[in-house]
């Protein structure tokens, strides 16, 4: 399909590149402990970008048998209105694409019965009186092909599986929700499912007692899930797009030490077994690892082809595209590499803790503070400035080094750039959460308000 489309584009436009993707999903859903639905979805689509008279245009379709000519014409019409851009598509490379396992037979071949069995196991383990348990298991097999008129080609098959368990406990007007997930390219092992069960159990047990929240500028342990609010401003600021637009607070600061020197963060599309890993990006650029933050210093920004061309730099292989619209910048796997802790760290000082251990071993010295596992409304505020302010979704009070219970009606606020200047401690509970690997971090002077 890609070849036919690019052939059709040749001669009618200066250059073109295209992505074709076909996805098949199988999902089972348990609602309130009962298997309620099984579903499949099949979707295929193609996205074409052209350069015509130096201007860029795009077109996409999900039609089963798209007419290549019509699609090229539509992209040309789009280019007629488009901006001029000096975009060079990568050519065919002599070196093979990085070899990275993205396809696991086990996952692709798992039967419906196997998916149901996993879900049922979680339901059985997590059912308890007064609690509602929902479980979903979703498996995906995707074929991707990318190519361009400069001769580059890339093709790969990928598998992904997501197993999620969420537990809701309502007692009077108190609603408690505890959630966790396994996401991988390969099927979860029994140990993975066990870890999921233990994670939900631990966080539920610690939440049964409700205590008064503290107030003031306090030490707060952000779990890998709770860290989302702190990391999001960095993700936005490290995007070449916001740098180019002049709205990134990190623009012009490459090489400056703005964060705690133990903190390194990278974008790594080459991690085996992760669904976001890939040998090539959606614009034919071979995948590679990018150091975003290196020992507290601002490292590289991430780019797709167009943004890189405008910023007069190179794509970092972070081009991402869907069927509709033009390619844009997207992260792959974001990995924290802490130099004094965490399973992925350099000099390991202590053995890793299981990820269900709340607080990652960071709470012993906290006289009064919080563990934040979930915040409400992440991404809604003025994210790029670094400021965050959110009510807690799931948080625990720590007093004299012990978890004393769950807090409600409290909000935490701060600025990511301030709180990451000095990290009070790095947890030994590093784990994957979706496409991000991080440990818990103890951050100090986080503002906690309560009613």
């Amino acid at each position: 399909m890609i070849d036919r489309l690019l052939d059709s584009a040749r001669g009618r436009v200066d250059n073109a590149d295209a992505l074709w993707r076909r996805e098949e999903q199988t999902a089972v859903a348990f609602e309130s402990g009962r298997l309620k639905a099984a579903g499949i979805s099949e979707e295929a689509g193609i996205n074409l970008r052209v350069l015509a008279n130096g201007r860029m245009g795009v077109a996409g379709t999900t039609a089963a048998k798209p007419d290549p000519k019509e699609l090229v014409e539509r992209a040309r019409a789009s280019a007629g209105l488009g901006e001029i851009v000096q975009l060079a598509f990568p050519g065919a490379t002599a070196a093979p694409l990085p070899s990275i396992p993205t396809f696991f037979d086990h996952t692709a071949n798992a039967s419906l019965a196997e998916l149901i069995r996993m879900g049922r196991l979680l339901v059985e383990r997590l059912s308890r009186p007064g609690c509602q348990i929902n479980v979903s298991v979703q498996r995906e097999v995707a074929d991707t092909a990318v190519g361009n008129t400069a001769g580059a080609r890339g093709e790969y098959r990928a598998t992904g599986i997501a197993v999620t368990a969420d537990l809701t406990r309502i007692a009077g007007d108190d609603v408690l929700m505890v959630y966790d997930q396994y996401v991988g390219a390969d099927m979860p092992t029994d140990a993975d499912l066990e870890a999921l069960v233990r994670s939900v159990e631990t966080r539920l047990a610690a939440a049964l007692t409700v205590v008064t929240p503290p107030e003031g500028a306090l030490p707060v342990v952000f779990t890998p899930a709770g860290l989302a609010a702190v990391i999001l401003p960095l993700e936005q600021a490290l995007s070449g797009k916001t740098v180019l637009q002049g709205s990134s607070p990190l623009a012009g600061k490459v090489g400056e030490t703005l964060f705690d020197e133990r903190l390194s963060i990278e974008d790594d599309p080459l991690t085996p077994g992760r669904p976001a890993s890939r040998p090539v990006d959606d614009e034919c650029v071979p995948s590679r690892c990018t150091a975003l933050v290196e020992r507290g210093k601002v490292g590289r920004f991430v780019y797709d082809l167009e943004t890189a061309a405008r910023a007069k730099t190179e794509s970092t292989g972070n081009g991402r595209r869907g069927v509709f619209g033009k390619p844009h910048i997207g992260y792959t796997n974001i990995r924290f590499r802490m130099t004094d802790g965490g399973r992925d760290g350099g000099a390991q000082q202590a053995a890793p803790l299981p990820s269900h251990e709340l607080g990652g071993g960071l709470i012993a010295d906290i006289a009064d503070g919080l563990i934040v596992d979930d915040l409400i409304g992440v991404g809604q505020g003025n994210v790029i400035s670094g400021a965050f302010s959110h009510p807690v979704g799931l948080a625990y009070r720590v007093q004299r080094g012990e978890i004393t219970g769950r807090v409600k009606d409290a909000a935490v606020a701060g600025n990511a750039y301030d709180v990451l200047k000095r990290i009070g401690g790095v947890g030994r509970d590093g784990r994957w959460l979706g496409a991000r690997w991080s440990p818990s971090l103890l951050l100090e002077g986080v503002s906690v308000a309560r009613r």
Partner: protein
């Protein structure tokens, strides 16, 4: 198309079968700063099959290749039969509807050249950029679509709906040194080309606000009396209460049902709340939902008392109530689930204005506009676009980072004054639930006063 769907229905061996097919034509233009990002036309189409058998669960298939329809009906049936259930799924009765519901296209967007759409957005984007040198970045988006939806089920329903939609949005980023603020405008209408003209002023206003916020202090975190403007009050009722009124939250959960018992007091007698999918001309309006049920105005809270909830056919049957036409799917890629349409706080007494709400507040916050909102059942958060302190009964200085954190039950009960100045707020974006985002919805409200609410921020 209808014949093709009817033929596939006949082939189905399941006890209940429904088929939905969609074809959507859309165009989109976007600017980032002074630069055009894209101007493009897209076509998306696909189908959805859902079947049910006695003693079995739902079997679902979605697909982009319509040639696969007969095969997908078979596969959905196999999937249903693989799901064994002790307690059967029942669907509440709905008279089978047959209709062609063609909404007014209001200037068919398919007939307008892409270059004209680019010019229009260029003007709005330019209006933001012209406000000040401190506006360092903008995002401006225009998107329109005309969607055709066919729906048939094995009980005899056969519907064709033609739905237009047009969305405009603008974000202005103001920056001075390390200080960055934004202003946001968003307009979403179930209409066409005629309805998106002459919005320059609204884009100018949000850019000016981004600049003004650069000098504004952060609001001090504390509990205050808070007045919500119409837009934020609408977002509030959607987020804080609307989601709890969706019956799929309670129908399988005895504790949740107890919490949401009809007849329970949720607020003071001034509070009236509802959801109206049949309202004329709004973005959340649709004649029939995605199970073929006609939409309606559903009272949820009347004089402070919980009186109703939003249903699909399945949740209505389970709770012994009537379907309300709230089963919606964002596209053929998803099953219908219980969703809101146009959710509102009804106006208070006519003649009651903003001044009546503010006059006796010594120190409070006037929270305006909405960057967004999220709910975790009893707990919710919403982020105002900006705010003003209220001092001695008057609107005082501009403040930023106004985030309301709250508990639903306490907050609803603390609404003590509602103005008569109701407006529908037709915003773009949409509602997200169960992986389905963005669903077009509308919110409507007058100015609303909360005796005391928690505002997050530095303490």
């Amino acid at each position: 198309m209808k014949d093709r769907l009817a033929e596939s229905l006949k082939q189905s061996r399941a006890d209940y079968t429904e088929i939905r097919v969609e074809r959507t034509w859309s165009s989109a233009v976007s600017f980032r700063g002074r630069r055009l990002e894209t101007a493009t036309v897209s076509e998306d189409q696909g189908g959805f099959v859902r079947v049910l058998n006695k003693g079995c669960g739902w079997g679902i298939a979605s697909f982009t290749s319509l040639d696969e329809l007969p095969g997908m009906v078979r596969r959905a049936n196999e999937l249903s039969r693989a799901v064994r259930l002790d307690e059967p799924i029942r669907l509440a009765d709905v008279a089978a509807q047959t209709a062609d519901a063609i909404l007014d296209l209001d200037g068919d967007v398919r007939g307008i050249a892409l270059s004209e759409k680019k010019q229009l957005l260029d003007r709005y984007n330019g209006a933001m950029l012209a406000v000040s040198n401190a506006i360092v970045d903008t995002q401006a988006n225009y998107r329109d679509e005309v969607s055709e939806v066919w729906y048939v089920n094995s009980e005899g329903a056969s519907l064709y709906q033609l739905r237009p939609e047009v969305v405009l949005s603008g974000t202005a980023i103001g920056r001075r040194d390390g200080n960055i603020e934004k202003g946001l405008e968003s307009i979403g209408l179930r209409k066409g080309w005629h309805s998106v003209q002459n919005y320059e002023d609204r884009f100018r206003v949000v850019a000016q606000r981004a600049v003004d916020l650069l000098d504004a202090p952060r609001v001090r975190g504390a509990a205050y009396p808070v007045i919500l403007d119409n837009e934020l009050a609408g977002v509030f009722i959607h987020e804080a209460f609307g989601h709890l009124s969706e019956a799929d939250f309670v129908y399988e959960n005895p504790q949740a049902r107890e919490m949401m018992t009809l007849g329970r007091r949720f607020g003071k007698p001034v509070l009236n709340v509802g959801d109206n999918g049949a309202a004329t001309g709004l973005r959340g309006t649709l004649p029939y939902d995605d199970e073929g049920t006609p939409t309606q105005d559903t009272p949820l809270i009347t004089a402070g008392i919980l009186v109703g909830r939003l249903h699909s056919r399945e949740t209505a049957a389970k709770l012994g109530e009537r379907p309300t036409g709230n089963a919606r799917a964002i596209s053929f890629r998803h099953p219908p689930i219980v969703r809101m349409t146009n959710t509102y706080i009804a106006p208070g007494q006519q003649g009651v204005g903003f001044n009546d709400l503010i006059s006796d507040i010594k120190l409070g916050v006037y929270a305006c506009g909405a960057f967004g909102g999220q709910t975790m059942l009893e707990n919710f958060s919403f982020t105002a676009g900006w705010g003003h302190m209220i001092r001695d009964g008057k609107v005082a200085e501009l403040v930023k980072d106004v985030v309301l954190a709250g508990n639903l039950f306490q907050t609803l009960d603390r609404i003590d004054h509602i103005a008569g100045d109701f407006t529908w707020n037709q915003m773009g974006g949409g509602c997200g639930k169960g992986g389905q985002f963005p669903l077009p919805v509308t919110e409507g409200a007058p100015h609303v006063r909360i005796e005391e609410a928690l505002i997050g921020g530095d303490v």
